[in-house]
């Protein structure tokens, strides 16, 4: 287990990211299993399973955006990056992190505007009549969390932290094992 030099809070936050995305994915899968069992074994199809399980899975995947970044899973083209001298690499990595953070915060803002629209219109889903602002609330949250990861990476680079190989896990990636 790698010791995290920035204290237990980053580890706790990482655990929160893992658990939030993992629980949503697990809940979505479990619900689909429940739906199959009810339909096939008990001949009682449930009309709401498809909608809710899809939303749970998408929530899990979106909340996992930042988990994926923590583990350096978002795919990059490393063609040029790998051939740069170290000081240029640092600057390049910084620009890339800042641009990514900028996009995520922009997306979070756009999603926030959408949320206000959904609250005003009172629009609901077709199957379960769930308010759409609740369904879509994951978008600003996920965008903020991913943006937060890129902001932290940028700070780390500014403070002189080691430049990552773009495919190596970020410094606080390993909270366990």
């Amino acid at each position: 287990m790698q010791e995290d030099r920035r204290g237990p809070w980053t580890a706790r936050y990482a655990a929160f990211e893992d658990i939030a995305s993992g629980l949503c994915l697990a809940a979505g899968m479990t619900l689909i299993l429940y739906g199959v069992v009810m339909r096939y074994v008990f001949s009682t199809p449930l009309y709401w399973v498809d909608e809710i399980s899809t939303y749970l899975t998408v929530w899990g995947a979106l909340l996992g955006w930042s988990v994926a970044e923590r583990d350096r899973r978002h795919i990059r083209v490393t063609l040029l990056f790998d051939r740069l001298p170290p000081p240029v690499r640092r600057a390049t990595a910084l620009v890339a992190s800042l641009v990514s953070a900028g996009f995520c915060f922009f997306l979070a803002y756009m999603a926030w505007v959408l949320e206000t629209r959904y609250v005003t219109s009172g629009q609901r889903t077709l199957n379960t009549q769930s308010p759409l602002w609740i369904v879509y609330s994951v978008v600003p949250l996920a965008a903020l969390m991913l943006g937060g990861r890129y902001a932290a990476e940028s700070l780390d680079l500014l403070r002189g932290g080691a430049t990552q190989d773009p495919d190596a896990p970020a410094p606080d990636a390993a909270v366990s094992s």
């Binding site: 001949s43 009309y47 709401w48 909608e51 219109s121 629009q123 077709l126 009549q129």
Partner: protein, 319 residues
């Protein structure tokens, strides 16, 4: 962005019409007819781009895209508007409308128009309704003549609500299966059948994988042709008239094509699979079994809508 603005050099107003049906369906052809008429009669001041097959926006986002004025015309099933107001379930009510034309008369009545107008504060303006048809019951197990025959069948539906309660009233089960999985699910018997209009049966090829069709005319399915209020308000009055006239002709075409398709499709299906036409007594059993559904939804949808719907069953000029 406000969408649909005139080009910088005073070019034509570019408007978009998106829908989820294939280009060759009655809806697809009506949309193209509307676009052609609008383009020709506006003297080139309006350019219409039609996007069929859900290419640009689909079931999950077309209404929001309309509200944001990213598209200016859409034609979803009216039932989709229940995401704003549960009263739009009126068309799904079992055995309420005598036929699809009655539902269209309902939407043109004072009550129907008022319901559509209630969406205007949300940026949505109803221009017309186009027919899709009446929903029929198809399955792979047995001929269905009475609710007792339907008991125990698992039926695929596109989304929950009235359809679930209706099928449960017959002792059948309702399963929501996404469009892309439906053909395979019917083929392998994950569900026993589906409810669909002749138009949908034809396009989604259900007769390839199901053996029995009951002409139940269970409920009515119409498309609402909707536009964006900001776009509409920004149109010059003469262009608005051009739009209205083009829509009237496109609606007439949609109705003609839909009627022809229903007849042609029924004949073609009879040659391929077992088509069961119900006697009045058999149909009445379905009507009786589904009455409790009306009771459930009357407080939600409102007595006035039920009354107006029943009034629309009498052919003739609307009020």
């Amino acid at each position: 962005g406000n969408g649909a603005s005139a080009g910088a050099a005073g070019g034509p107003i570019v408007v978009k019409f998106t829908h989820v049906a294939a280009d060759f369906t009655p809806k697809g052809q009506a949309a193209r007819k509307f676009a052609e008429l609008l383009q020709a009669r506006s003297g080139g001041r309006i350019e219409v781009r039609v996007y069929p097959s859900g290419q640009l926006f689909g079931d999950k986002d077309e209404v929001e895209a309309l509200q944001a004025n990213n598209v200016q015309f859409i034609a979803p099933s009216i039932g989709k508007l229940i995401s704003f107001d549960p009263r739009f379930q009126i068309g799904d009510m079992p055995f309420l409308f005598a036929d699809n034309a009655a539902e269209n008369r309902f939407w043109r009545s004072a009550t129907g128009r008022e319901l559509l107008r209630s969406l205007e504060p949300k940026g949505i303006l109803g221009l017309s309704t186009w027919p899709n048809g009446m929903r029929q019951l198809m399955n792979s197990r047995r001929p269905v003549r009475t609710p007792a025959d339907a008991r125990g069948l698992k039926i695929r539906i596109p989304s929950g609500g009235v359809l679930v309660d209706t099928l449960q009233a017959f002792g059948a089960g309702a399963s929501v299966i996404p469009f892309t999985d439906t053909y395979t699910a019917l083929q392998q018997g994950v569900v026993d059948g589906t409810m669909a209009t002749f138009d949908n049966i034809e396009n989604e090829k259900y007769a390839e994988v199901l053996r029995y069709l009951s002409v139940t005319n269970m409920n009515s399915l119409s498309y609402g042709v909707l536009t964006n209020t900001t776009f509409w308000d920004g149109l010059a009055p003469d262009l608005r008239q051009v739009v209205t006239d083009a829509m009237t002709e496109a609606t007439a075409l949609a109705e003609k094509l839909s009627r022809e398709l229903d007849e042609r499709s029924m004949a073609a299906l009879k040659a391929r699979i077992a088509v069961t036409e119900l006697t009045p007594a058999e149909r009445q059993q379905f009507v009786d079994a589904s009455r409790p559904v009306w009771a459930t939804y009357e407080p939600i949808v409102g007595d006035d809508l039920f009354a107006a719907a029943q009034a629309a069953n009498q052919p003739g000029p609307v009020d």
